[in-house]
């Protein structure tokens, strides 16, 4: 494998085997990845998009040398992850969402310094870089706070600084804004964009189930579900693929389940439904605008009362609905967490 790609995988497969006592209660084998192949060029911000349990974290763990693939191969910076994990580690960094790493009795600054030492950074250079990055994420005034006093958002900002501290050639971000408030998530997304803009030779692989995050940040995304990549391209290209279809969002009252009303209709390409307190929200992809009156009639004859109707431009969520065949939230409910 040449090192022209930052990341390259061929037919990656990972099967987890349940322990004997657990196997009685559940399936003996869980296929987390089922033949995943993709390539990421140098300087790219590549997103892996999918619901919980789709295989995103398993992919990152294999690439970050935390997990061996059951079969298939993967190269990071041209180095085979299974044959030479130590060689891979010289090129990578990793930040995961909801991370609780570090030692509570140490301050933010001390924790970051400690991690910098695992990369052999000179103390003076490490401290200067820590100061600079803490200012970027707005944590300068907290640098001497012990980390057990930090909120979730502050802790995740610290984790971000840790991941970027050593300026890794290839960075894995695994659901990095998971559980964060809107403002903090926005700050961190801006941080990622700026970091990459200033360092054109760096590569980021981002996994997320936040569609807007992938849309905003990624040059290309792979949509993954049940361990398989179902689509892979630039978000704009994926969305453009849906422009010949008609996408609507309806809010309907007095109807618990719209599925039976539209099931089997040839003019409904895809259907997803989200329940709210007093109404349901239905996302529809129709073969054409002309199919809408008949679909609405079906819903009304099933007892539904239309509260609102919105025709939308395609989003990545619609792309997901289109390629996976069911809504993102349905997939989230089905999924575990690989």
């Amino acid at each position: 494998m040449s090192d022209s790609y930052a990341i390259h995988t061929e037919d990656l497969r990972r099967v987890f085997r349940a322990k004997r006592r657990e196997a009685k209660k559940q399936k003996r084998e869980i296929v987390a990845l089922d033949g995943v192949s993709f390539s990421v060029g140098r300087g790219e911000l590549f997103g892996v998009l999918g619901p919980n349990g789709a295989g995103k974290t398993t992919t990152i763990k294999i690439l970050a040398t935390l997990l061996s693939p059951t079969s298939g191969r993967a190269w990071v910076a041209g180095v085979d992850v299974a044959a030479d994990p130590k060689g891979v580690r010289r090129h990578i960094g990793m930040v995961s969402g909801g991370e609780t790493s570090g030692y509570g009795l140490l301050t933010i600054e001390e924790n970051l310094w400690m991690f910098s030492q695992f990369y052999g950074m000179d103390t003076r250079a490490a401290k200067a870089r820590i100061k600079e990055l803490l200012a970027v994420v707005g944590l300068s005034d907290r640098s001497r706070t012990k980390i057990y006093h930090l909120s979730t958002g502050m802790r995740q900002k610290m984790n971000f600084v840790r991941g970027f501290l050593t300026d890794p050639e290839i960075l894995f971000l695994d659901e990095p804004t998971l559980g964060l408030d809107v403002q903090t998530a926005r700050t961190l997304r801006a941080f990622v964009s700026n970091w990459l803009a200033e360092r054109r030779d760096r590569t980021i692989l981002l996994t997320t189930h936040a569609m807007h995050e992938a849309d905003e940040l990624c040059g290309r995304v792979a949509i993954i579900d049940k361990g398989r990549i179902l689509a892979c391209d630039a978000p704009a290209v994926l969305k453009r693929g849906l422009q010949s279809e008609a996408i609507f969002r309806l809010r309907i009252a007095d109807l618990a389940d719209a599925h039976t009303a539209v099931a089997g209709r040839v003019d409904v390409s895809r259907f997803a439904q989200t329940a709210h307190d007093e109404h349901i929200e239905v996302d529809l992809i129709l073969t054409s605008d002309g199919a809408l009156p008949d679909v609405l009639a079906s819903l009304q004859s099933a007892g539904g009362r239309l509260l609102s109707l919105e025709k939308r431009e395609p989003t990545l969520e619609d792309v997901f609905l289109h390629v996976v065949g069911h809504g993102f939230e349905d997939a989230q409910r089905e999924g575990g967490g690989a």
């Binding site: 040398t65 935390l66 997990l67 001390e110 400690m114 030492q117 990369y119």
Partner: protein, 275 residues
């Protein structure tokens, strides 16, 4: 990242990982109670037993020294052997594995930091114990005494590093295993009495634990009464065996770490939490 020599990364990692133990641990003042007062209570109980049965006064010194050295064993058991389990639970282990550094350097940092922090506690236990119970010691041979002490710690923490590699695979079982090891080792290593009292066979078997021979040798070098019928082996022989154990445990730890890390990666155990 700029290319840095493996040697630089190794020693910076050692310093980095030792730091939380040296600095962080001193910030939680409760250690004064848990790690000095409580061990002293146990020492006190044995002191009164020995006084009640009119044991020779040197036995009080044996107990104080045993109480101080038990701090190292507890440190090895709870802060070395089962440490990687806790690191996995908090998410630190993933970051250790992903970093381009030696896992032995991380363990060595943990060991050096642990030794430093525990030495402060051991000194406090010995000082307070000597003052409270009027213990007098006679140092027979300073270089051998220092040699025995340092070699005991190297062998003991080498054992800790070996155990921590094994524990890389374990989940909550690590906790149970540490619990299981704690008291039997206190007994067979002779923390509060000369190990010879258990008989030559048990003492020989217990010698696989460095603290057994270390304590026996240090007692001989500090309390001349031990030189008589109470000693197990001569301090020089014990020092030689300890040196052998130190080398053996460090080599085994290095090999076991590589083997169990690869196995844990195959089985997906390096990052699964709450198993």
């Amino acid at each position: 990242m700029r290319s840095r020599s493996a040697w630089t990364v190794f020693w910076r990692t050692v310093l980095g990982r030792a730091y939380p133990r040296i600095i962080g641990a001193q910030r939680e003042k409760s250690w004064v109670f848990f790690e000095i007062f409580l061990p002293l209570l146990q020492v006190t109980a044995y002191v009164y037993i020995y006084r009640a049965i009119e044991a020779p006064p040197e036995f009080i010194g044996f107990v104080v020294l045993g109480g101080a050295m038990s701090a190292y064993w507890l440190n090895v058991l709870w802060s070395m052997a089962s440490q990687l389990y806790w690191e996995k639970e908090t998410g630190n282990l993933e970051l250790y594995i992903v970093a381009p550094t030696s896992r032995m350097a991380i363990l060595l940092g943990m060991a050096l930091g642990g030794m430093f922090a525990t030495t402060l506690r051991a000194i406090a236990v010995i000082t307070i114990g000597m003052l409270l119970f009027h213990v007098s010691m006679t140092v027979q041979n300073v270089p051998v005494l220092l040699g025995v002490f340092v070699t005991t710690l190297v062998a003991l923490y080498g054992l800790g590093m070996l155990l921590s590699s094994l524990f890389l695979l374990f989940g909550r079982e690590a906790w149970h295993l540490s619990n299981l090891l704690q008291e039997p080792v206190s007994l067979v290593s002779g923390f509060y009495f000369p190990v010879r009292a258990l008989g030559q066979v048990v003492a020989a078997a217990a010698s696989i634990l460095p603290i057994t021979l270390g304590l026996d040798a240090m007692r001989q070098l500090l309390f001349p009464a031990m030189l008589g019928d109470l000693r197990f082996l001569s301090p020089e022989v014990e020092l030689g065996i300890l040196a052998g154990l130190a080398v053996l445990f460090l080599i085994l730890a290095r090999r076991a770490l590589g083997y169990f890390e690869a196995l844990a990666r195959r089985e997906g155990r390096l990052s699964i939490r709450g198993q």
